[in-house]
């Protein structure tokens, strides 16, 4: 790992117990941390974008804060919430310890707010940013750039005590807005090739039968090639599938080669896709 003259407190990232990291990605993570820039990760579902943040947090032993972006989300929700309902309740019934005249007692930090006010440096994962609209994205980057935000109700500015390590993920094939991209480092995670997949499976299944693994991975990549499937099976599905195959006492790995593929429902989650997969598998066996 390249770690020459970085600050002493700026640890580097080498991968974690459940995550298979390629060299290139490790370098990118380290550069982003050193430059204090958010890292934007793109790639199709199942390439481990979200898992990377968990792995960074684990390996650097920093707390992880996850902001799951939703389409209807407003930026202020990610920063803080003014709990008006509790305040109304307190003012009508007055049975709490809080001081109703003190608005600050009713401000709760959102995920970004928590990352800013934490005592330690944290990893902030902003998951699936593409779900939100462009304004949200740009405004959020402003906040992350300045590392401050205002709480309007009490006219107070919150400043980050420690700059969090920011990881942003996006599934979109479409590009995000230019100002947004300008402030991030970017990496695209390609779908793992069979060799990488073997390493990933090894990490998850320490003592898996070699033939089973080979046959399952071969079958998996063939199944991914089926046309017109809405949701292609990804790494997560493969892991679950292998888990299903290993717990079935009647299952013999040899059968996979013959085209007998049980539990396709684990791999294909949409009924249309499952039907298509079943058809294709059946047809192949006839030949």
């Amino acid at each position: 790992m390249v770690n020459t003259e970085m600050d002493a407190d700026c640890a580097t990232f080498n991968g974690a117990s459940q995550y298979v990291l390629d060299d290139e990605l490790a370098k990118i993570v380290n550069i982003s941390m050193a430059l204090e820039m958010p890292l934007l990760l793109k790639g199709e579902p199942g390439t481990g974008k979200t898992m990377l943040a968990y792995a960074i947090a684990e390996s650097l032993q920093m707390p992880l804060i996850v902001l799951n972006v939703k389409s209807s989300m407003k930026l202020v929700e990610a920063l803080y919430q003014y709990d008006t309902l509790t305040r109304l309740n307190d003012s009508r019934f007055g049975d709490s310890q809080r001081d109703v005249s003190d608005i600050e007692a009713y401000i709760r930090m959102g995920k970004i707010g928590q990352a800013f006010t934490a005592d330690r440096r944290t990893v902030l994962l902003i998951d699936e940013i593409d779900k939100a609209d462009t304004d949200f994205q740009d405004d959020m980057l402003d906040v992350l750039d300045q590392m401050t935000f205002d709480i309007i109700e009490i006219d107070k500015t919150v400043k980050a005590r420690q700059r969090p390590v920011v990881i942003i993920t996006s599934n979109a094939k479409k590009d995000l807005s230019d100002p947004f991209l300008g402030r991030c480092n970017f990496h695209h995670i390609a779908f793992p090739d069979p060799a990488m997949m073997r390493r990933i499976i090894r990490v998850h299944f320490k003592d898996l039968d070699e033939t089973l693994m080979e046959n399952a991975i071969t079958a998996f990549y063939q199944l991914r090639d089926i046309d017109a499937v809405e949701k292609k099976p990804a790494t997560r599905e493969l892991i679950n599938w292998i888990r299903a195959l290993t717990v079935d006492p009647d299952f013999k790995p040899k059968r996979l080669v013959k085209g007998e593929l049980p539990y396709l429902g684990v791999l294909f989650k949409k009924s249309g896709d499952l039907e298509r997969a079943n058809q294709t598998v059946r047809r192949r066996r006839l030949f």
């Binding site: 003259e5 430059l35 934007l40 008006t84 309902l85 109304l88 979109a172 970017f186 249309g272």
Partner: protein
């Protein structure tokens, strides 16, 4: 440092901002980069903001640091065109031979590489001279519907490697599939079509917005204030008309149909029809264009708010479009030129779009594309194009 590299990237039309370049300098200054491999990784993650440019970046990088042969920007495009055309003509070797002005026997002696070189030379040659419909680039009157027969021996298209040595990683061109000129994948179209969701508020204001009501009540100092919202309804009706007639449309028919079928749930109504080359009096509900005819006149009785989406290459012989009896199918002789029918359709449905799988830069070479482009707003069947098309279809007027 590396200023020429920066300008080379920009010359290759990769959007690299000066700010990003300064960030890269910051990374260099802080000693984060100690080898060329580090520089490759750092430069790419800092400068390049989309995987679509990774491939181009790889090529420029290899060129700059190892002196690898750099394909001219023009060659990026020519390669793709040449390959596509060759694939088409493989079906009809005689046509290819005629078009290149050599005999079939001569043609068979050429290796695929030689053929492509020869072909590109001819292509460049004619670029300057013609701009109308011409048999090189458009399909100028040839509607290859039958199958010509055999393949010239040993001919193979695809996998023509241009560059052999240089910085290994960069030269592997791992991101080729993601580059702008790469093929349109299903996932990409699916992403763009998601934008078809028409969530324009339409119903009456009859839903209580609980959050907003509470908030407004608080602002009112506890006086109850109830806020109503319109219920969001997706009332989009879509007619999809697909040209499933020729070789050029083959890769896209299933793709487009599948995607629209998947998104069927979000439309109030989705009707799919088929036609060949252009629309005359009838559209067909069955892909064979035989059993279930649908008269155009019936379509005009439909809700004019229906979105009409035509998918086709709009490439045909001009007479098919302009002549009164232009159809190449004898049973479709209607007495009205297709051009008028198309105009009628675009007047009936004010939200309409024509999606064309032919890359936009080739449109000027085919006369019928320009003509149809004047009737229907035409968009490329690519992510950018689809998105523009969807924006157009969603616009209020």
């Amino acid at each position: 440092m590396f200023v020429p590299f920066f300008y080379q990237l920009r010359d290759a039309q990769i959007p690299v901002s000066p700010t990003a370049f300064l960030t890269l300098q910051r990374a260099l200054k802080r000693g984060l980069v100690t080898s060329l491999a580090d520089f490759y990784t750092a430069a790419r993650s800092i400068l390049i903001k989309s995987e679509r440019y990774f491939d181009r970046f790889d090529q420029i990088f290899a060129h700059h640091f190892e002196g690898a042969e750099l394909p001219e920007v023009e060659a990026f495009e020519l390669d793709a065109i040449a390959r596509a055309m060759l694939e088409q003509w493989l079906q009809h070797p005689k046509e290819l031979a005629d078009a290149l002005g050599m005999s079939e026997a001569e043609l068979q002696r050429l290796s695929p590489e030689e053929l492509i070189e020869y072909f590109k030379a001819r292509l460049k040659d004619q670029d300057g001279r013609h701009d109308g419909g011409n048999r090189w680039i458009g399909t100028g009157g040839t509607s290859p519907v039958g199958h010509a027969g055999y393949h010239p021996e040993g001919m193979r298209v695809g996998g023509v490697s241009r560059n052999k040595s240089a910085v290994k990683v960069a030269m592997e061109r791992r991101y080729k599939d993601y580059s702008l000129s790469g093929p349109l994948t299903q996932a990409m179209v699916g992403e763009a079509l998601k934008r078809l969701r028409n969530l324009i508020p339409s119903g009456p204001k009859d839903q209580v917005n609980v959050d907003e009501s509470i908030y407004q009540t608080m602002k009112n100092g506890g006086e109850i204030e109830i806020v109503f919202d319109r219920s969001l309804k997706d009332r989009l009706k879509v007619i999809l008309a697909i040209d499933n007639g020729g070789w050029s449309m083959d890769p896209y028919v299933t793709l487009v149909q599948t995607l629209f079928d998947y998104s069927r749930a979000q439309f109030k109504e989705l009707k799919t029809y088929f036609f060949h080359n252009t629309i005359y009096d009838t559209l067909w509900a069955d892909p064979a264009r035989y059993r279930q005819p649908k008269s155009i006149r019936e379509l005009t009785r439909l809700d004019p708010e229906t979105r009409l989406i035509v998918v086709g290459d709009a490439s045909m012989a001009p007479y098919e479009l302009m002549a009164a009896d232009g159809s190449i199918h004898i049973e479709e002789r209607s007495g009205r030129p297709s051009l008028e029918i198309l105009k009628g359709l675009s007047e009936t449905f004010r939200h309409s779009a024509w999606l064309n799988p032919v890359p936009a830069r080739l449109w000027p070479y085919t006369q019928t594309i320009s003509v149809i482009g004047e009737i229907f707003p035409m968009f490329e069947l690519s992510i950018d194009g689809l998105e523009k098309a969807v924006n157009h279809l969603m616009s209020k007027n």
